[in-house]
């Protein structure tokens, strides 16, 4: 598989995880898109330096060809998938932890209120 093919496959997989597996639905939320808008600015800066200074170099045969700020466009898919997977996972971990904690508080409250 080329970089391009993997980038598309991982993007699809990550969207399935967000929407259907964890059901965190990050990509449907305003808070996510505003955060991503901030992240992508820094991503383009950092990626621009990494690729502009040839810290990372790409095999021309493995990419589509078009570049944005020195970096192959595939890097945008790469970065987007990374952010979606991380934030969906972060939401899932917090959802579980906070729900558990809330249940614990509810139990204590109920117990004390019956005494």
């Amino acid at each position: 598989m080329t970089y391009s093919q993997i980038a598309v496959a991982v993007l699809v997989a990550v969207l399935v995880v967000d929407l259907a597996v964890l059901r965190t639905r990050m990509v449907t939320r305003r808070v996510f898109w505003v955060a991503y808008a901030i992240v992508i600015v820094f991503q383009l800066l950092m990626n621009g330096v990494l690729t502009g200074l040839d810290v990372v170099t790409y095999d021309p045969a493995a990419i589509w060809g078009p570049r944005i700020a020195y970096a192959p466009v595939e890097d945008l898919l790469f970065g987007f998938s990374l952010v979606v997977l991380t934030l969906a996972s972060w939401a899932a971990v917090n959802r579980r932890a906070n729900t558990t904690r809330r249940r614990g508080l509810d139990t204590r409250t109920r117990r004390s209120s019956t005494r």
Partner: protein
Amino acid sequence: MGHLTYLSLLVGCLVVTAPLELLLGVRVYARWRRLLLAVVPEFVVFVVWVLYAIAAGHWDYSAGRTLDVRLPGGIPVEELLFFLVVPVCAVLALEAVRKVTGWDAGYPAEEAEAGR
């Protein structure tokens, strides 16, 4: 910056986002156990991807602009750190936007539960 180029960028990411924790009080590092747990899937998926890409020759790293310390599979130590630093910055960004706007992120606010 030579060998420190890539490492400096990673440190820069942490420095630039540090005020979100220290001044805005998003409590992301404060929830470090959850943070570590949340980063695991991303870390595994992307490190596997990078190992495959290195093996397949999709991309390569400059020996002169990295520490040139290669871990098993040929992955530079900075690239491994990238997959810890960048997701942490993304979480900081999300929590900052959530804190400032109050918009729903799909899970109960931790602040209220922690009594802060």
